[in-house]
Symmetry: C2
């Protein structure tokens, strides 16, 4: 039995890839739990609801309780839960809007929102949508970004991501968004707030395959960082400008042993 710590685990590229679940990943999750660690599974997905994401994890054979799945939508809910007067305008998919509506008071653009939450609007972007969000921000509402990614890859082709819409609103309203997705350290803080463990960065592990998001975020927070050699690792290994994790392991299967050997 090691000293319990909080482990923030990336999903895609770390626990599974398009080819399937990483060898030993399910067993590693079981061992981390058996060692008493608090687990949170972090993803930057800002288009799907948490229930759909959770169903997909279970279908892959990964034992992840729904309440351990920490998405930007959950993070936004945690961030706004402190404010019982929050009235939220959502720019996002139907699934994300429905999930936020189940947790918070969601209103339309004319109904004087206190917060504007921006996620994936690929299928609904219009000038009027942006202008309505701008009007709320200009009137004093706070801007919350589910993530601020520049672009995503689909079939090897780069496409404009949610961050562009966030940047548009930041410019128009002269505000800075609270970013509740990777690589924002606010995402880590909110994940830790949602967990029963310690808020101490030195007792927090951030584990993922992506140096530009997972590792960068963990380092910025002061957490212990582990990069796995699965997922995006090979794509990034030639880039010396990317941050270096505190430890690098072949796969998440090696994580429980690493944590036992490096227990503080």
């Amino acid at each position: 039995m090691t000293t319990p710590q909080t482990v923030l685990l990336d999903l895609e590229g770390t626990l599974y890839t398009r080819d399937g679940v990483i060898d030993g990943a399910a067993e590693a999750v079981r061992r981390l739990r058996a060692d008493g660690h608090v687990l949170r599974f972090l993803t930057n997905t800002d288009s799907q609801g948490t229930a759909d994401l959770h169903a997909a994890l279970v279908a892959r054979g990964l034992e992840v309780p729904a309440q351990e799945l920490f998405t930007p939508v959950v993070a936004a809910s945690v961030a706004l839960a402190d404010d019982p007067g929050a009235r939220v305008l959502v720019l996002g998919t139907a699934a994300v809007t429905a999930e936020l509506a189940a947790r918070l008071t969601v209103v339309g653009p004319g109904e004087e929102p206190t917060h504007v939450v921006v996620g994936d609007v690929r299928h609904s972007l219009t000038y009027d949508l942006l202008d309505g969000a701008f009007a709320a921000l200009h009137g004093g509402a706070r801007l919350v970004a589910l993530q601020k990614g520049r672009f995503f890859l689909s079939g090897g082709v780069a496409h404009l991501d949610t961050g562009a819409v966030v940047a548009a609103l930041e410019h128009a309203a002269a505000v800075e968004a609270l970013v509740v997705g990777k690589p924002s350290t606010d995402f880590v803080r909110l994940a830790l707030r949602s967990a029963p463990g310690s808020m101490d960065p030195g007792r927090t592990w951030v584990v993922g395959d992506d140096a530009s998001t997972d590792v960068a975020m963990g380092l910025a927070f002061g957490a212990r960082t582990v990069q796995v050699r699965t997922g995006k690792f090979a794509l990034q290994s030639g880039d010396p400008s990317l941050p270096r994790a505190g430890a690098v392991v072949d796969s998440v299967a090696d994580l429980p042993e690493l944590m036992r050997s490096e227990a503080p």
Copy 2:
């Protein structure tokens, strides 16, 4: 007869307001011309074509030759005229796109543009439009912004302006736009390049009612600046954070005398 200089004159608020042409403005323009100065009339309008803007000026009784009207669309043309291989993707109104097509090679998003020019897209904004522009920029095209305003007022209500779309593309593609409208000093440089006069900032006058655009731009360029007490002046006079012009006059009617008395 004074020593010829270049005078960059703002239009709305300086030569006319919604109430009509400023008293003495037409005569002032005639006197500046009689004094041998080179004139350019600057506006930030990024939705109308130059021909329509010019027709509106003539209808107001202002003697402004079309070639002295300097808009962000003209500025973009001047900026890109040096590059005979320029292939331009336009995000803008039909009028602006047609005017640029008359001066430059305009192509579609899939046709490997070398430049993306962004203007008013209030009536055409979609994710696919933004994503097509992003793809061009991601592929190496240069971003040109007709202006980068945060918001405009219509009937007293603030609405999201072109700058938001520019900021979205800058974020997604990690580039900085060449801004060819106020308050960018590149707009002044391009206006001077289009004129037969001197490029010397000390022999350039920037005249307008708006401290945040006209005056700020003139000061940043090192030009002589004159703010008129018409147009937006009263709205801004209580704001100590705004830059101060080298001279302030009641209206543009006082400009010819000021220039005679301050001739270098």
